[in-house]
Symmetry: C2
Subunit: 213 residues, 2 copies
DNA sequence: GGAAAATTTGCGCCTGCTGCAAAATTTCTT
DNA sequence: AAGAAATTTTGCAGCAGGCGCAAATTTTCC
């Protein structure tokens, strides 16, 4: 029926992971996802092209598969924390709690970022996934703030949080500067909490040119 | 050579606008851009399908064409204002200065929003265009804040500003509530300037349920 | 061991997009 | 005004992506 026999489910999850992994690997070796075709990925895993498309609509989705896995955890965490603390803290803590830095190798994360930024199509698909995430979380945030989903405030909160999440992740991956990922995220969230118009501190920009006016 | 004879340039711009307009019109009448094909659009304008693809890579780009036109103005305005005032104010003023509400019919803007939200592909393409805009503006913002483009602060500023811009636009279109678009934008920017964690005021949510805890 | 359910696979088809070279149109020169 | 030059339009061929369908294969269950 549904998932009574966990074995079949596990096999499916395994091939899905294998396809996703092969996509990543091939994109790395060939220097860009655009240079990879669905046929190659399928061949790499030892499965037909048609089967690849049974699991993923396109190679971009395969590439971003584990991001989607994490998305589910993130939503669950936000929902849980939102009942216990202010929504801004809940969003921050859910983000920190993912502990991406412990889960992935930093070299691999850097590689992923480079590949994403090299492929316009991949950027688009990822942006689309963020929009989906926004839609899925908006109800939670609206309720937590006691506003309607039509109200701009919860939208601003959620939109800012997702942007902060993405930017602090990118920033830390590109330049850890001795911080943990959690610290980078916490600092970025604090910046928005204090008001975006003035920087919280200058310690983050050791190489910043001095303002020339 | 380049554009000495403005006539040819104007003709090209005219057909481009005609194609974009036809795309919009067809999407409206057929209740969704997904129900429209490139052939229909080309036929509507009296041009071959191949020519359509000379102007736009796909129908989504044609649909969002005038958004791109405005993007150029926006960048120019940010660059100009950034030399005169703090970057956050510059971004806000550039956004307000577009005066989208005077340029477009509000009914048409509502229609556009609905069509966008009904098409996942359109959402993706629009999100991709925002990423491009981000990349084009990042240098200006970094310089204005006296930071490097690697620094997370200018990224947070610009990301927050673009999110604020999009959300306040959507909000005003869906529910003007007697405000001008400029007022809605100004208020949203003020919210982020004051810190996102607490709402600036409750006047925006006349129908908000009272917080239940 | 055999029936039932589910997965994989091959095949054909359609759609969207691009390169290329010929045809049509516009602009420039004299 | 006529012809040359430049540019745009167009048709065609080709390719990759993606999907429906039904047969073949595998797995599960009794």
């Amino acid at each position: 029926m549904a998932d009574q026999s966990g074995l079949r489910e596990r096999k499916k999850a395994a091939t899905k992971a294998a396809l996703s992994g092969a996509t990543l690997r091939l994109a790395m070796t060939k220097g860009g996802l655009d240079a990879v075709t669905a046929d190659e990925i399928a061949a790499e895993v030892g499965v037909s092209t048609r089967t690849f498309h049974n699991y993923f609509p396109n190679k971009e989705a395969a590439f971003l598969h584990d991001f989607n896995e994490i998305t589910g955890e993130f939503i669950a965490a936000v929902r849980e924390y939102a009942a216990q603390r202010p929504i801004w803290d809940a969003l921050r803590d859910a983000c920190v709690g993912l502990r991406m830095d412990e889960r992935f190798d930093i070299g691999q994360m850097q590689c992923r970022e480079e590949l994403i930024h090299a492929s316009p199509e991949l950027i688009k698909v990822q942006a689309g996934q963020f929009m989906e995430l926004f839609a899925e979380l908006l109800g939670i945030v609206a309720e937590a703030t006691g506003r309607s989903t039509d109200d701009p405030y919860p939208r601003l909160v959620l939109g800012s949080a997702l942007v902060t999440m993405k930017i602090s992740n990118e920033d830390w991956v590109a330049n850890p500067r001795g911080r943990t990922l959690g610290e980078a995220i916490t600092h970025a969230f604090a910046q928005l909490e204090a008001g975006i118009a003035r920087p919280l501190d200058g310690a983050l920009a050791p190489d910043a040119p001095e303002p020339d006016a």
